[in-house]
C-alpha cells in the first residue's frame, strides 16, 4: 500500500491580514503571484470619495530573507461633488518595484517569535506627468502558538514637480488559528495625512486568512471609525 506522507505545508510570502503586510517572504528563487482588491468607500468628512484598487505583482525570492516584487495597480475612483454629478475614472494608477527584507531567519526552529520586516518601494504614478511614489513599511510580528500579532507602520509619499503628498498608513492586528490553516482575528487600519484637502480615516474590523497548499487568501472588512463608511480588502497569492 502506497503511503502518502502527510506533511504540514510550506507557505511563504503570505499575510494573515487584510490591510497589513506580513513578515513572511519567499525562499530563495521561490516565485509567487500576489494580488489584492480593496475598497475605500465614502472617504472624507463629506463622504464623497470612493476608490477601488486592483494590485497584482509577482514576488520572487532573491535570498531566503529578501523578496522582490514588481507590482502594477489599477484604480477606479469617484470624486463625488455635493452638487452636481460625481466624476469617476478607471486608470492604470502606478507600477514599480519593491523589496521586502525579513530581518530574521524563517527556519521554523530557529526563527524567533518576534520577526521584523522592512518594505521599501518606488513606484511611478502614471496619473501625473512626473510623479514618483516612494513607499516604506516597518512591520513587526509576534507569534506564539496559535496567536499571531502584527504592527505595520507604513508611509506613502507622492512626489511631483508641483506637490508633495505624505500619507501615513499605520495598522495593527491579531490573528488566531481556529482550525488548521484557518485563522480569524481583527485589525485596525488608518490613513493619516498632514496635508490639507485629504481625508484622515480610521477603520476597524474582522479579518480572516486561509492557507491551502500553494495558495493563501486573506481578507479584512473595516468599519469606519472616522471619516469613512467602510473598507474591504481581499488578497491572495499562489506559489509556483
Amino acid at each position: 500500500m502506497a503511503l502518502l506522507i502527510a506533511p504540514g505545508t510550506a507557505h511563504a510570502g503570505r499575510t494573515f491580514y487584510g490591510w497589513l503586510y506580513g513578515t513572511e517572504v519567499m525562499p530563495e528563487r521561490g516565485a509567487e503571484i500576489q494580488t489584492w482588491v480593496s475598497e475605500e468607500n465614502d472617504v472624507g468628512p463629506e463622504n464623497h470619495v470612493r476608490e477601488t484598487d486592483w494590485w497584482i505583482g509577482p514576488a520572487i525570492g532573491i535570498t531566503d530573507q529578501l523578496e522582490l516584487v514588481l507590482p502594477v495597480q489599477i484604480a477606479w475612483e469617484r470624486q463625488g461633488l455635493k452638487s452636481g454629478p460625481p466624476a469617476a475614472r478607471t486608470t492604470l494608477d502606478n507600477y514599480g518595484v519593491e523589496l521586502r527584507y525579513r530581518l530574521v531567519t524563517q527556519d521554523p526552529v530557529d526563527a524567533p517569535p518576534f520577526a521584523p520586516l522592512i518594505r521599501v518601494a518606488i513606484k511611478r504614478d502614471v496619473t501625473h506627468p512626473d510623479a514618483l511614489q516612494p513607499e516604506a513599511d516597518v512591520v513587526a510580528s509576534y507569534q506564539s502558538g496559535i496567536f499571531h500579532g502584527l504592527v505595520d507602520l507604513g508611509t506613502i509619499v507622492n512626489v511631483s514637480s508641483d506637490a508633495t503628498h505624505v500619507e501615513f498608513r499605520p495598522g495593527a492586528g491579531v490573528s488566531i488559528e481556529v482550525v488548521e490553516s484557518l485563522r480569524v482575528g481583527g485589525e485596525v487600519f488608518a490613513s493619516l495625512t498632514p496635508d490639507s484637502g485629504y481625508g484622515n480615516w480610521v477603520t476597524v474590523g474582522p479579518n480572516m486568512a486561509w492557507s491551502h497548499g500553494r495558495s493563501w487568501i486573506s481578507a479584512a472588512f473595516g468599519i469606519g471609525v472616522k471619516d469613512i463608511k467602510d473598507t474591504g480588502r481581499l488578497q491572495w497569492g499562489i506559489a509556483f
Binding site: A10, G30, G213, R214, F240
Partner: protein, 216 residues
Amino acid sequence: MGHRVLIVLALLAGIAHADGGVVGKVTITDSAGKPVAADAIVYVVGPTEAADPNEKPTVAQKDKHFVPDLVAVTVGGTVAFPNQDAFLHNVFSQSPDRQFDLGSFRKGESKSKDFRTPGVIDVYCNIHPEMAATILVLPNRLHTHVKADGTFAIEHVPPGTWTVFAYTRRALRPVSAKVTVGGTDASINLALVRGAEPEHLNKYGEKYHEAGGTYR
C-alpha cells in the same frame, strides 16, 4: 610531579582499556527475503558522547539523486547540501522533527541545515520527485555506515549495556539488540527488511506534477 603524571597516564590507559567496541553485520532483504544492496547505519543509544568535531555530513544533489541518500548526524550537527547538478534543486523536509525549506539553488551552491533534536528526517526536492534521502539525527557520535559487505565496527563505546540499532531507508521496522560492552568488543548481527519507497507530497502538501514538475 613525575608520579602524578604517571598516575594520570595510568588512569587514561585504564579508561581507554575500559572502552570497547561493537562489531557485527547487517543484512538487508526485501519483503520476499531477497538480499538487497543498500546503505545502512548502525548506532548505539544510551551513551552521551558529544559530536566528533570532524563530523561534517554531506548530502549532495547529483544526477537527480541525493548522494548519499542516508546520513547520520549527531545532535547539534549540521548537514551540507551541495548541488552538483547543472540545474536547480530544492531541499525541503516536512518531517515533524524538523521542517525546513532551503529554497532553490544552482550548481556549485550549497546550503546547510542544523539539527538539534534526535529524529528521522526525510528530505526531498520540490522540483524532482524521484529525489529522496533520510537524515538520522542521533543522540551521540557512536554511529557508522555499514561496509559494502554489511559489516560494521563502532569503536570507543563506553562500558555498559546499550541498545544498538540498525536503520536503512524504507525499513519496514527498526531492528535493535542489547549489547554489553566491557573491555572487549561486543558482536551482534542485525537483519533489516526494506520496503518500497513511499509516495511523498511536495512541499505544499500536494502531489507532484507528472513528468517532472517545475515546482520550486
